[in-house]
Amino acid sequence: MANDPVQLYWIYAVFGFLTLIAGFYCILISRNLLRVLIGIEILIKSVTFFLILAGYIGGKTSLAQGVVITLIIIEVVVIAVAAGIVLGVFQLNDSLDARKLKNLKG
């Protein structure tokens, strides 16, 4: 076990970075629009974890919780609207594949 508190928090932060990598990879590689949304969700989970960790380290968990509650509300609205847009795209193209979205191509 790490004895130095800063080293300890760094180990926690590494897991946050790994979740961030998983989210970025999902967004970059996926062609399915719903899976891209899942990637965004994973990214937001990582950011939430970093905020909570920062609040815990700084001894300001109340402030961190306030910010996280705001983040969660933004997250829900973004996902609800994005899911609606994805369903609209599916009804137009009969597919969730991002490569088939050519209607806006210049």
Binding site: Y9, W10, Y12, V14, C26, I29, V77, I79, G84
Partner: protein, 169 residues
Amino acid sequence: MNSSSFFILNIILLSLMVGFSIWAVITRTLMRSALGLAVVSVLLTLVMFRFNSPLAAVFELSVCAGLITVVFISAISLTKPLTHQELLVATKERIRRYWYLPLIVIVAGLGLFFSQADLGIRIPPPVVEPGVQEVLWNGRPTDVLGQIIIILVGVFGVVVLFKERRHGK
């Protein structure tokens, strides 16, 4: 609970969180991805509880693990599943595109773990802080106003989207 078992349990929870994140990304069906995401939310909730953030943890559990999972499952059920033949082709393609992720995560994890980058973290002295309610209502009223506006914008957006779709039919 002593600090050693606190640390070990946190590491186990965080490892599971990363593991389920990867599983949500690389798994074959969208339904499994959505369920993997819900498990990530539950694990993050447990981590939040352990890091003295119970109110945010309750929000995370009810909204992210509950509501967002329902939104995803509803969206998935409204779309057309792949046929068996398409699924076989997609699986081969998925393996080719996604097998890098566990590798990247392991390499990045080891690299970050041993790098011990100095982020300038200085642990401040403990302070007596006000409760969440006080911080949210008295300290950050603009955030609350922003939340209300965002919710209204979201409702408006969903109404417009579904209204247009009805007209489109």
